[in-house]
Amino acid sequence: MTLEYNTLIVLVGTVALGMTAGIVGCLALLRRRALLGDALSHATLPGICLAFILLGQRDFPFLLGGALVTGLLGVTTVAVLTRWTRIKEDTATGLVLSLFFGVGITLSSYIQNHSTTGAQAGIDSFILGKTAGMVLGDLYFIGGTAIAVLLVIVLFYKELKLLSFDSAFAAVEGWPVLRLDLLFLLLLTVTTVIGLPAVGVVLMVALLVIPAAAARLWTQRLGTMMALSALFGAITGAVGTLLSTSYPNLPAGPVIVLAAAGIFVVSVLAAPHRGVIARTLSLRQMRRRRERRKLLVFFFERREQGQSILDTGDFEKAFGGPQPRGLSDVMRDGWVSGGEGSWELTEQGLDRAMEVTRAHRLWVHYLLTEAEIDRDLVDPDTDTIEAILPAEVVARLQRELRADGRFPERSALPC
């Protein structure tokens, strides 16, 4: 596909924008202020309209300057309302969002009904976004602002990181938390404002939230998260632009948001550890491990009672089925041999079953006698009792179990 010059300009603009929004969005997400960006972007509309009314024409930096002013006013209003009245943060956010937008709509209808230039289209494109109108001058403006925002983030990386994860700690350590918070809000506002021409007032928040939320699923480190989020933002911008130039009657904002949503859905499914697939797999693995251990303990306990060969009837009673799940697993591991209705532990299987039963009984004994640990924290089906409890405690527990005749060891087994 060959790109036209115009498309190229728009592409560079939206990619730069996507990256910046992705990085700033990480900070917003971690500060749990994800939806503040929503209030903020809606709050820019009256500023755009006022700037238009004052100037009488569509001058890009001037309109965005107006957007910046009312955007900051909106954020301040949220802060003032939550601090000085009993209005909670969520209500304050929704309130600023809808009231400022209402003022914007009213001003916009004033422009439409009273303005002689009739350049209403210039305003409307800010509501749902219109990338196609971007020219080279706009690109310099967006690019310059994006670079400035990134520079500030690099300079204040450590401080912003601390603020995002533990602002109380930052305050105790003597960092100027209030000023850093203002810096963060300024970054958020500036990013939102330069995003307006592409994505629009209504959906700008998506560009801040979705790439960051997707990146959060892949990593636990802020640096990596920011890099990933920037990458997702860039892809979002590129895909969104290419799609919306192919279908020029679609507003750009929704298309870009859907591109971001696509990345998000993939992340939710495929991310390691936090992704749905990984979690389902690890859950299933854990379940299988549990079944296997349960089965080994069962074999061992029968062995202690003198029965070494088990048949379907034994399983029927204990597990509610003739062939418990996990039986094939332990046979594949070589711990159980047999088939055709009768099974027994192999030599290694006996050792393994002994280990498992030992750990299990030690845990249960510990929990019953001296559990000051929260029971939920302990998984009785692990081998690692030695790794969790001090050695002398384990030794004592072993002595107690042995005195009880319940400590699994070969010498205690009936022949």
Partner: protein
């Protein structure tokens, strides 16, 4: 022309009448259901749902091919519940913050809706502008006969939804109240907070859809939240709260519409502006929770504390028989005091004859000495108490006593003193007056 014959209205007046009727119906149902969004701290879920119903609405519209409310309502309620559900799933399963989950879900659904409208605009008779800010002005023009009366087409469904909202609030008044204020208690009483939650979300979705044509999907958030937020600043009881919200919404609906009519502005936007004006006036001037009253209360308190600090300071100087000429009159120690407050404190003390100026030196009067003695007593009694019962080291006693002395009444001081076996001296060895 029912309204015209009843109220002897001109044709233009008739349009105004019906438009105001529609905006009142919209405002009332939004304000009623919005009260609970504000109380339950779910305002942003209202925001999310009002955006996210769009695709459901459009699909309902595409299937039925008309602005018939029922299919649109079904589609929108489904989309609304899907939003609430998906948000919860993302929050629980993928561990994404609640509001970030909301942000992801509603922007995506809203985008799908806008794209559907643009792609199928020949079938879907809704334009993106209407989605954003509605067409309240046009309500009175598009009429349908009902029982022989020409009513705006939007009005009967709006009234049905309003009736449903009222019925819902009346029927579940107790459940809504308990689950809103104390979900844990509701669960122990055997109510299902989850069921009430999803019922409420259903009602929010229905209301949003019914109001959609009139005010769009963003301004409806203002109609939902602002009356409740305003009422929250004015009252502390649920009944009056709901009524106040309703009245606020009516004032804004009528005022906003008339303003828009006079100035030729977008009606829904103008109603929102009216709501904003009412809210900010209340936020500043509300009798108990307003910003102005809070400021005044804080200013008066710091004035009193500054006054009392001056009195206590002078008393200590007299007690130690220092040269009163060197006694500073400004409050010192403790929290920082603004110069204006400090100046005002000295002035008021002189005016009300707690202090007097003698030969260029400020001294306590008889009255001033008595009050200062009370304060010093409270201070030292508290020091003894803190030493005895809180086991604070000596050098930690003063700071807390310096704060607490302003809030210990003479009676309380005597009581504490008796409780401590009537000590003569404080832990620093100074006499308790």
């Amino acid at each position: 022309m029912l309204a015209a014959s009843l109220f002897e209205l001109s044709p233009a007046g008739e349009i105004t009448f019906w438009n105001i009727a529609v905006s009142l119906a919209v405002s009332s149902s939004c304000a009623l259901i919005g009260c609970y969004l504000v109380l339950r701290r779910m305002s942003l879920l209202g925001d999310a749902i009002s955006h996210a119903v769009l695709p459901g609405l459009v699909i309902g519209f595409m299937i039925s091919g008309s602005r018939d409310l029922t299919p649109m309502l079904i589609g929108a309620v489904a989309a609304g519940l899907l939003t609430a559900y998906l948000t919860e799933v993302l929050f629980r399963r993928a561990r994404i913050d609640a509001d970030a989950s909301m942000g992801v879900v509603f922007t995506t659904l809203f985008s799908i809706g806008v794209i559907l409208i643009t792609l199928y605009h020949s079938q879907v008779d809704l334009d993106p502008g209407c989605v954003l800010y509605g067409q309240l002005e046009a309500s009175a023009i598009d009429t349908r006969p009902l029982f022989g009366v020409e009513l705006p087409r939007q009005l009967p469904p709006l009234l049905v939804v309003l009736a449903a909202v009222v019925l819902f609030l009346v029927a579940f008044w107790k459940e809504l109240k308990i689950t809103s204020f104390d979900p844990a208690m509701a669960t122990t009483l055997g109510m299902s907070a989850g069921v009430i939650h999803y019922l409420l979300m259903t009602m929010v979705a229905c209301t949003t859809v019914a109001c959609f044509e009139a005010v769009g999907s963003i301004l409806v958030i203002a109609m939902l939240i602002v009356p409740g937020a305003t009422a929250h600043l004015l009252t502390d009881r649920l009944g009056p709260f709901v009524v106040t919200a309703l009245v606020v919404s009516w004032i804004a609906a009528v005022g906003g519409y008339l303003g828009a009519d006079a100035l030729d502005l977008n009606a829904a936007g103008s109603i929102t502006v009216a709501l904003g004006i009412v809210f900010f006036v209340v936020a500043i001037a509300a009798p108990k929770h307003g910003i102005a009253v809070r400021w005044l209360r804080t200013a008066l308190l710091s004035l009193r504390i500054a006054q009392e600090d001056i009195l206590a300071r002078l008393y200590r100087y007299q007690e130690r028989e220092y040269d009163p000429a060197h006694a500073p009159t400004e409050a010192s120690g403790g929290p920082k005091v603004a110069p204006a407050i400090r100046f005002l404190a000295t002035r008021t003390l002189l005016w009300s004859r707690w202090l007097q100026r003698q030969g260029g030196v400020v001294q306590l009067t008889e009255r001033g000495t008595n009050r200062a003695r009370e304060l010093i007593r409270s201070h030292r009694v508290w020091e003894s108490y803190a030493r005895e019962n809180l086991d604070l080291p000596l050098d930690h006693l003063h700071a807390s006593a310096h704060r607490v002395e302003h809030f210990i009444t003479p009676e309380l001081a005597s009581e504490i003193r008796e409780g401590l076996a009537d000590p003569e001296r404080d832990p620093h060895g100074r006499e308790i007056p």
